[in-house]
Amino acid sequence: MSLENVLNNWSKYRRGAEEGGHHDYEHKWAMMINLDLCIGCNACSTACYAENNLAVVGKDRFEKGQAMHWLRIERYWDQAEQEFPEQGASFLPMMCQQCNSATCEPVCPVAATYHTPDGLNAQVYNRCIGSRYCSNNCPFRVRYFNFYSYYESSWPEPLNMQLNPDLTVRDKGVMEKCTFCVQRIRVAKDKAKMENRKVGDEDFKPACVQSCPTSAMVFGDYLDEGSQVRKLWDKYQVKMGPAKQDKQEPDMRGYRVFEGLNTDPSVLYLERVREKV
């Protein structure tokens, strides 16, 4: 962003500040996760490891809390007081929520994390200087830092042949997080552009969505009225943008984690359903 650019677009930045994140997107990638179908099987998480060159940190560093799982499945027992969890476990796939007014963006000293025109919360590895402020300011705690250089330890020959050349292998001192598989998005968009059409639902899926055995995850362009994900957001009467949700049917299942913090996440969760026997 050259200085001129800043000055010319100042009003836009101001508006962004007022509305929380700028909202004039060309696409707005969004997700919907049906927690009633999520069985917590870890397929998405492992798919993420495979697609995004995530480092395997090993037992000791995992113990220190330095694991790099961009997508982790959180498991909770709902009935804490009971002797047996009779209604089973609650599973929550938690990854970067790609907030529209992300709290991580304003605090990065070098603007290594910022909002892309297609509504993604970007992390530019080669710009990152590792101040880790973004992670501190993330209420979901989904930003992971390369505390070590994992290249040798995590991909001993020939494991490194599996590394995905479409995205960078991060080295020590860099923050990273879920990107909604931006490399797939970019390829799909480029392909669509070469064919002079708009990118659609079927063009691509993030690794997690593609692997989910129960199809609990749905991904797409929120701005595309026809997209599956948009239909679902509308069905569950959750809107992106406004601080206050006004559901005609307040009992509808859709909700976003920490809605109250008004970070305007792009991931819609559907409450898990249980039948009392």
């Binding site: 050259s2 001129e4 650019n5 025109p117 960078t168 490399q183």
Partner: protein
């Protein structure tokens, strides 16, 4: 006398401080303004060093003398992010018959018979966190503009220099980020970091 004026100057410390501050601020902001206004297409050359290649491939002969299109050999350029080095089979396609007496061609034939391809050295290299794609650039500057494909070399030359006047390729443009950025700003290319850095 000199000493005296020297002393005089020393006395006035506020002046010193003011000068210092002015220089400090000026030194930062003035060039900033100069640069901020600059959306001219990138200029500036880079004097790359001669890279020895297994076979001293004469671009000049192929491009200038024989007028072969760049994309005839670098055939992936319009289909992929990488332009690609022509496969040995393609070279042999012509050189089975053409100029077989030339030492270079004989060397090539040796490779071909050994069923190996030469270990070329990369000349135009960018860091691994930069994801440049030829495909899109060709689309914008050649196909969308209905630019005559036979003259595509003029477009290639923008980043790769005039290879028609070189034998083996030589890096003659800086290919730095600033260089790319200025071109993007001049031609309305994307300014989104995540276009090139992923």
């Amino acid at each position: 006398m000199a000493v005296k004026s020297f002393k005089k100057m020393k006395l006035n410390m506020t002046a010193y401080i003011n000068i210092a501050l002015v220089l400090l601020i000026g030194g930062l902001l003035v060039p900033a303004w100069l640069l901020a206004g600059d959306v001219k297409p990138p200029s500036g050359d880079h004097n790359g060093k001669e890279v020895p290649q297994p076979i001293e491939f004469p671009h000049n002969i192929h491009v200038k003398d024989n007028g072969i299109n760049c994309m005839y050999c670098h055939t992936y350029a319009r289909r992929s992010k990488v332009a690609g080095i022509p496969p040995t089979s393609k070279c042999m396609g012509c050189h089975k018959t053409i100029a077989t007496d030339k030492p270079r061609i004989q060397k090539l034939t040796e490779y071909w018979e050994k069923k190996e391809s030469p270990q070329w050295k990369k000349v135009h290299d960018v860091p691994d966190f930069v994801h440049f794609t030829h495909e899109k650039h060709l689309k914008k500057f050649v196909f969308d503009r209905d630019f005559p494909v036979e003259n595509v070399k003029e477009v290639c030359a923008f980043c790769h220099g005039e290879l028609e006047n070189m034998t083996v390729a030589k890096k003659v443009k800086p290919l730095t980020m600033g260089w790319c950025r200025r071109c993007h700003e001049a031609n309305g290319g994307p300014g989104d970091c995540w276009k090139c850095h992923k």
